[in-house]
């Protein structure tokens, strides 16, 4: 029939996207199953699972004596579980933030890292660690990192507002900020004592060691609040990807939605990296990997790249905790070791095709 052009292919594409997302959920579930059994406490696998159940239903589960002795419930609930969930939420959030930034700015290099938001957070953390100055006493490092990150996002927005809301303006403003904040961080390191400098350096590696239930709760609330909004406006992202003019002629309020998307992405990034330090790589790579597999419709690209990010971060953290017995490699380093070769492989393969 004449009116069938492309419809079957489109149906197949839709199916492929659904399958990809389903597969990612399965992989993630399997990974969670592995991750909760890993740790320096050397609990048997079965004990780890039993401990989870015991935490959920204290009355229904009869704990064997060896588990009471080894404090299995305390270890799994106090150390492992929130870390695993935190890896998922953080990976999800960072990947989505990167997806949105790349979409809005139509630039494959856009990410919280390249736009200066991550280095602003590092700078804020350095100010707190080295100068002891900050905004939330008691949570000096976290508060500063968050505030500086949002400050950077605001500055990018302000500059873009003054100079015209083009994607190039935003990227240039972001790069300028990244260098500025890096320079300030370096200067602070130059001033600081060696212990403090080490603390800063370790913060900047990015790790999940400081995860906890309250932090997980806070990050989850932000991610869960922002993601439906982004999904709801996914068509606007698709239209923006066609160019500002085209988006406008398709009825998208371009400046307003660009600002909204950037704010949402910055907020998610800031609330995650203020707890973890800079895990910059996921926001860049997860969207790319996902786009290569299922294309650039943001209705599916956003959730799928979020899941890819969660898989990468959780997988990296599992390896980071086990690859050197007794030591935990910062997950920020591990994600780069893992993800970059995979990314390059995908990229090279695609170029051949």
């Amino acid at each position: 029939m004449m009116t069938d052009f492309g419809r079957q292919e489109y149906a197949r594409l839709t199916e492929k996207r659904a399958l990809f997302i389903a597969a990612l959920i399965l992989i993630l579930a399997a990974l969670v199953g592995v991750a909760v059994t890993l740790g320096s406490a050397n609990l048997p696998v079965a004990d780890s699972y039993l401990a989870i159940l015991a935490g959920l239903f204290p009355e229904a589960v009869d704990l064997p004596d060896r588990m009471v002795e080894s404090n299995a419930v305390g270890i799994v609930w106090g150390w492992r579980l929130h870390r695993v969930l935190f890896a998922i939420v953080a990976g999800f959030g960072l990947a989505i933030a990167g997806t949105v930034m790349q979409g809005v700015l139509r630039n494959p290099l856009a990410s919280p890292f390249t736009l200066g938001i991550a280095s602003a957070a590092s700078c804020g953390a350095s100010v707190a660690i080295i100068l002891g100055a900050g905004f939330l006493s008691g949570y000096l490092v976290i508060g500063n990192a968050f505030l500086f990150a949002m400050l950077a996002a605001g500055a990018i927005y302000g500059m873009a507002r003054l100079k015209g809301m083009g994607s190039e303006t935003m990227i240039l403003a972001g790069i300028a900020l990244m260098y500025l904040f890096s320079a300030v961080t370096s200067f602070l390191q130059y001033l600081g004592t060696s212990e403090k400098v080490q603390e800063v350096v370790f913060w900047m590696f990015g790790s999940l060691d400081k995860s906890s239930w309250p932090k997980l709760g806070l990050v989850t609330v932000v991610v869960v609040a922002v993601v439906p909004l982004l999904l709801w406006r996914a068509w606007d992202l698709n239209a923006l990807a066609e160019g500002d003019e085209t988006a406008k002629s398709l009825g998208v309020p371009v400046e307003r939605s660009m600002a909204g998307f950037m704010l949402a992405a910055s907020l998610v990034t800031a609330v995650i990296i203020c707890f973890t330090g800079t895990i910059g790589f996921i926001g860049l790579v997860a969207p790319h990997i996902t786009r290569m597999v299922i294309g650039a419709d943001h209705r599916t690209l956003i959730p799928a790249s979020g899941l890819v990010g969660a898989v990468i971060l959780l997988g990296a953290d599992c390896l980071a905790r086990t690859v050197i017995p007794g030591a935990i490699i910062p997950v920020g380093i591990m994600t780069a070791f893992l993800g970059i070769p995979f990314f390059v492989y995908l990229f090279m393969r695609r170029r051949d095709a």
Partner: protein, 262 residues
């Protein structure tokens, strides 16, 4: 009532005046060519008509004040095909054309949306590569995809910015013939900014001649494209021949009193 009536339209980028007191009107089923030298304001005019830019003056669409209409309302009536310079977004052709349904879409894609996309693809003769990636198309294919997107948008007015400038000879006449056919058969109104005067003369019902943001003349190609007009607008001495009722401009040399003096 004309579909589009423009009266006293003016526009400035910050302190630079680009369009001054532009007026014309457009009927359904009419192809209007906007011609003029580089920098005469053709692209700016199209952007003002789609309210990508906000001009002064009175623009009426079907009698309604354009500046009082919402973005979505405008998007359902007017489709804008930008000059196709760079590559398109790396999605499939089907999805690129589907973007034309954005003013109507809810979150999911309805049967009607898909049908309209398929129709537009088949009308443009590009149904065969619906699943190809839009960023890997040639210039002629790309232009067709963009026009298909405008058709899927169900607009009654198409604005095209130099639809033929990136195309080879055959693609040029195919695209222009297609626009003319859409106007004749579907009663769409078309405004196209065009550099090639002979192409404009052959396929447009009427032509608006712009110079330095002002309308220097408006009318049927045969009455508008004259040696005098070529001198006044382009600073070029030209012979205008008649090819089966269509004027054909043969540029000879720059005029002695060149445009710079004016």
């Amino acid at each position: 009532m004309p579909l589009l009536r423009v009266q006293g339209l003016s526009f400035s980028y910050r302190d630079r005046r680009v369009l001054t007191d532009v007026s014309f009107s457009l009927e359904r089923g009419e192809v209007l060519g906007v011609v003029g030298p580089n920098g005469s304001g053709k692209t700016t005019l199209l952007r003002c008509l789609d309210r990508i830019l906000d001009p002064e003056g009175d623009v009426r669409l079907d009698g309604r004040d354009l500046s009082a209409m919402s973005r979505t309302e405008i998007a359902r009536t007017i489709a804008y095909v930008p000059q196709s310079g760079g590559a398109l977004n790396p999605v499939t052709v089907f999805e690129t054309v589907l973007m034309g349904r954005r003013p109507y879409l809810r979150w999911s894609v309805s049967e009607e949306d898909k049908r309209k996309v398929s129709e537009a693809l088949s009308l443009l003769g590009i149904g065969g590569f619906a699943s190809r990636r839009a960023d890997r198309l040639s210039g002629g294919e790309r232009q067709r995809v963009l026009i298909a997107r405008a058709l899927a948008q169900d607009a009654r007015l198409l604005l095209l910015d130099e639809p033929t400038s990136a195309l080879d000879l055959r693609n040029q006449i195919e695209v222009m013939a297609l626009l003319r056919r859409l106007a004749d058969e579907r009663r769409l109104a078309v405004v196209a900014a065009i550099h090639d005067l002979n192409l404009a003369a052959r396929y447009c019902h009427r032509i608006v001649m712009l110079k330095e943001g002002r309308v220097l003349g408006e009318g049927a190609p045969s009455s508008l494209l004259t040696g005098e007009m070529m001198r006044a607008v382009y600073g070029v001495e030209a012979a205008v021949k008649d090819e089966m009722g269509v004027p054909y401009v043969v540029p000879l040399r720059p005029s002695d009193d060149g445009v710079e003096v004016v």
